[in-house]
């Protein structure tokens, strides 16, 4: 069994619980043991780097020190945490353990092969668009993603579990990120655009790998609908939840029950749940 260190970050212990649960669930089925970093602290998120650069590096750096002591590759599901940890790594120039964003980690060729071997319910007929957002691809010096204007790795991963990812041009557009609570108007404008483009592509859902993107896209659809008179009811599903579904994990329904826009309806219409 492969063992890696795990940094869930604050969101995954709160509003993004289903991302944490599905990350753990999928790793379990794939024989990957996740050891949560002992007494990890908040990475500082956008508020630290917006306020005090030294503080943002020190807060993220403390977690890297813990991970480096463990000596194992560090798996990070929240892309905002990942970005801060990578920035601290670059700034301190310390040789440490590899820091891996969960989407990159699960898109590695050997992991995809392992997933394919254990597939019990290919998601055939499920039309999706992959939404990467900002920090999964930018800045490329930190993410290492070469095709940052039109990334393909999530599409490939979703293809491997039988889903049908459609091309669209909003893969890496910003959702408004941390403006979520204080400039909700901006977040609604940006997510409204992303949601309408996905609707135009006639997909069943949007697949994401970031708790902030998920919350921004999932939680404002009711308001958008009442403000515009248009229909907004697209489920926003974590890629790990769909892998869990394809691998037949028994807790999938519990994960999906935590969403604001219900994903179960469309998945059962496709005969997948």
């Amino acid at each position: 069994m492969k063992e890696v260190s795990y940094y869930p970050g604050c969101s995954l212990h709160g509003t993004a619980r289903e991302y944490d649960e599905s990350c753990r669930g999928v790793s379990d089925l794939l024989g990957i043991k996740l050891s949560e970093l002992k007494d990890w602290n908040c990475c500082g998120a956008s508020s630290a780097h917006c306020t005090d650069k030294d503080l943002s590096i020190a807060l993220a750096g403390r977690n890297l020190d813990i991970a480096n002591k463990g000596g194992r590759e560090l798996l990070v599901p929240c892309v905002a945490c990942f970005s801060r940890l990578k920035a601290a790594e670059a700034e301190t120039e310390k040789e440490g353990v590899p820091i891996r964003y969960a989407l990159d980690f699960f898109s590695d060729e050997p992991v995809i092969e392992e997933i394919k071997k254990r597939l019990v319910r290919p998601l055939s007929g499920l039309k999706i668009v992959c939404y990467y957002g900002c920090l999964a691809v930018r800045p490329p010096q930190l993410t290492g993603v070469k095709e940052y204007e039109n990334p393909q790795h999530m599409d490939k991963l979703m293809g491997a579990i039988g889903a049908e990812p459609l091309p669209w041009s909003y893969k890496t557009d910003c959702c408004g990120s941390s403006l979520m609570l204080v400039r909700t108007d901006i977040v609604k404008k940006l997510t409204g655009r992303i949601l309408s483009m996905a609707r135009e592509a006639e997909v069943d859902c949007i697949v994401v790998g970031c708790p902030i993107c998920q919350a921004n896209l999932d939680t404002r659809q009711g308001e958008l609908a009442s403000e515009t008179g248009e229909t907004y009811d697209l489920p926003i599903i974590y890629f790990t939840e769909l892998i869990g579904l394809a691998l037949g994990h028994r807790d999938v329904k519990k994960w999906l029950s935590r969403h604001i826009v219900d994903p179960v309806k469309v998945l059962s219409a496709r005969g997948l749940i």
């Binding site: 604050c10 908040c42 910003c174 941390s178």
Partner: protein, 187 residues
């Protein structure tokens, strides 16, 4: 900016200060405006990203540190990857926000800096952040008590809102990190 509009004093040391603190190049900008054309939040800014760069070059410190733009920028890095001269505006925006906070003047946007300070307070106190604690503090500071209550209830029913602060036993270490950084700033 409108013609003839007051832009404040010119401060010759401003450009080198921003360059030093951010470690980014600013001189190489030739005002092609590609950054502003692709910025997702340009519509809500008072000064566009390429104009921010020009103002820095001219030393318009006041103008830049008191504008709304630096708080609206979502740090999406779109501008930087598209800039023909690799001007990393997202990094420069961080420096400007840091400077504006240290300068302690009036901010060009009300609630975004409040959000950041509430967020950092939460880390300083608890080492980790939980949404309910954050929202309660934020409402107290912004006085928007009714905002998002229905949504919060929905999320609570779906098990997304934790009621108690998360366990964390190295609070002293975190306070020490804050102390060192605050001391560093007072210099």
């Amino acid at each position: 900016m409108k013609p003839g509009e007051e832009i404040g004093e010119r401060e010759n040391s401003f450009l080198p200060k921003v360059v030093n603190a951010s470690g980014e190049t600013i001189d190489s900008c030739y005002q092609c405006r590609k950054c502003s054309a692709g910025c997702p939040v340009a519509y809500a800014m008072d000064i566009l990203p390429h104009q921010i760069i020009r103002h820095i070059q001219y030393g318009h410190r006041e103008k830049v540190l008191s504008c709304r733009t630096i708080w609206i920028c979502a740090s999406c890095y779109t501008c930087g990857v598209r800039c023909p001269n690799k001007v990393n505006i997202a990094g420069i925006m961080d420096t400007l926000r840091n400077m504006a906070i240290n300068a302690g003047g009036k901010f060009g946007e009300k609630n975004v800096p409040v959000f950041h300070s509430v967020f950092l307070d939460a880390i300083k106190k608890g080492g980790r952040v939980y949404e309910l604690g954050l929202i309660v503090q934020l409402k107290a500071k912004t006085r928007e008590f009714l905002k998002d209550t229905a949504l919060g209830w929905k999320m609570f029913r779906r098990g997304k809102i934790r009621l108690l602060p998360p366990p964390f036993s190295s609070k002293k270490e975190i306070r020490e990190i804050f102390n060192v950084c605050e001391k560093g700033k007072r210099g």
